[in-house]
């Protein structure tokens, strides 16, 4: 159910935008989000941006694990 892939927005034109994943560019719709800007990373599902990815979180998936590990060590 969850094929949704992070893309970077490279052009915005109203509720339409061009998003890029790696070197491939694709038209996407922004109707499900507020205030999407060039450079934002968004999740795309079936042609629609469904969420902006927070960059700090995206930087390191493993942060979440570090937290868990620390909690376990305490426990």
């Amino acid at each position: 159910m969850c094929l949704a892939v992070p893309h970077r927005i490279v052009r915005v034109d109203g509720n339409e935008a061009i998003a890029e994943i790696g070197s491939i560019k694709k038209k996407v719709r922004l109707d499900l989000l507020e205030d999407v800007r060039i450079g934002d990373y968004v999740l795309i599902h079936a042609g629609f941006a469904i969420e902006k990815l927070s960059v700090e979180e995206a930087e390191d998936i493993l942060d979440a694990w570090k937290e868990i590990e620390e909690a376990q060590n305490e426990g």
């Binding site: 159910m1 599902h45 079936a46 042609g47 469904i50 927070s54 998936i61």
Partner: protein
């Protein structure tokens, strides 16, 4: 691709688990990725991960396929569009792909946007979109209805078979056979944490929202095991980069504006109260079920097919007597074998747990 720290794999493999734990991955993409990455072979011995009902194509009742087939074959100047996954799902008479081979106008698309564009271009044709999918996909169907209204496209119709995940989790949790849910990442992107928090509390079951990279799944599993061991009955977000606590409010509002909840049939699970999305009266001009006077008749499940039990996590796909015998991706009996997200297909194609 980032290399996953071996330590993470070792941590999971060697984790001491005090009692047998049975979890469920709710989402079909999790099922596929767990098989594709070969992750089952690194789970601790007494941890079981069952596959759930989160493949939208699998839980769409056979009657939906029949509706698509009838629309394409019995109505003049009508084009049926749907997602690729739906094309080969067995229906009571035939698949959509069969209907296409018989001359029915059926197209598979990547996005509902293509249906709207086609409706604009082909004004003489009626364009019917078969909308399947959960909270992740339903907002785009809601958008399509509003867009058709805005552009005055009187030839666009949606047949909504959209479904909601939390009511299905309620039913599964209430059976008390599971020790935790690995929750679907992108459904959660839309709905946020609250629905899981309620289920966790009410049924004393931990919920962890997971992303789809192998790292995400391993981390979420570690957390789920920890919570089950400590009996922490709450919802934990292990996919913070894509899931906000309150979810996508704009998408939620759009869903509320266009759809209302109704009791609906899930293949294998029966009728689940308030788990379906029906087009509101205000938008009924675009409701294919009304425009084409479709009666949504329940179709009996196929004899011998255990997709229902697979979708509830009661059995593993290979425990179904048809699995790999009379039911294969070439000759599927039930939907779980044909959908790319179906548990049976994932086990069949990737081999589940491979014995060297």
């Amino acid at each position: 691709m980032r290399a996953i720290p071996l330590k993470l794999i070792e941590d999971l493999r060697n984790l001491n688990v005090s009692r047998p734990l049975r979890f469920m991955e709710v989402c079909g993409t999790h099922t596929v990725n767990i098989c594709r990455f070969g992750l089952r072979s690194i789970f601790p011995k007494n941890v079981e991960l069952r596959s759930g009902p989160g493949c939208p194509v699998c839980v769409t009742p056979a009657s939906a396929i029949k509706i698509g087939v009838d629309l394409a074959l019995s109505f003049e100047k009508t084009i049926v569009l749907t997602y690729g996954d739906m094309m080969k799902v067995p229906g009571p008479t035939m698949t959509l792909a069969d209907a296409k081979a018989r001359g029915g106008r059926i197209l598979s698309v990547y996005s509902v946007v293509e249906a709207i564009d086609l409706a604009e271009k082909e004004r003489d044709f009626k364009i019917v979109f078969l909308g399947v999918g959960f909270e992740t996909t339903a907002p785009s169907s809601a958008w399509a209805i509003k867009e058709a209204k805005r552009r005055n496209l009187k030839n666009f119709f949606l047949a909504s078979f959209h479904k909601l995940i939390p009511p299905a989790l309620e039913i599964l949790a209430s059976e008390r056979t599971l020790d935790g849910f690995l929750c679907p990442g992108h459904v959660s992107t839309i709905i946020g944490l609250k629905p899981y928090e309620e289920i966790s509390k009410r049924h004393k079951i931990p919920c962890v929202i997971s992303g789809f990279e192998a790292e995400d799944i391993i981390i979420a599993m570690l957390k789920l095991i920890e919570m089950a061991e400590k009996k922490e009955y709450m919802a934990f977000n292990a996919y913070k980069r894509a899931v906000k606590e309150k979810g996508n409010i704009k998408a939620q509002e759009l869903l509320k504006e266009v759809f209302e909840e109704e009791d609906t049939e899930w293949r294998g699970l029966g009728i689940i109260p308030k788990s379906g999305l029906k087009i509101k009266e205000e938008f009924s001009d675009f409701d294919a079920k009304i425009a084409f006077k479709i009666k949504d008749e329940s179709v009996k499940d196929i004899p011998g097919c255990k997709c229902g039990e697979v979708l509830k996590g009661q059995i593993y796909p290979y425990e179904c007597p048809l699995f790999g015998n009379s039911c294969t991706p070439e000759q599927p009996v039930g939907p779980c074998m044909i959908s790319s997200e179906g548990s049976c297909a994932a086990y069949y194609r990737y081999g589940g747990l491979i014995e060297p």
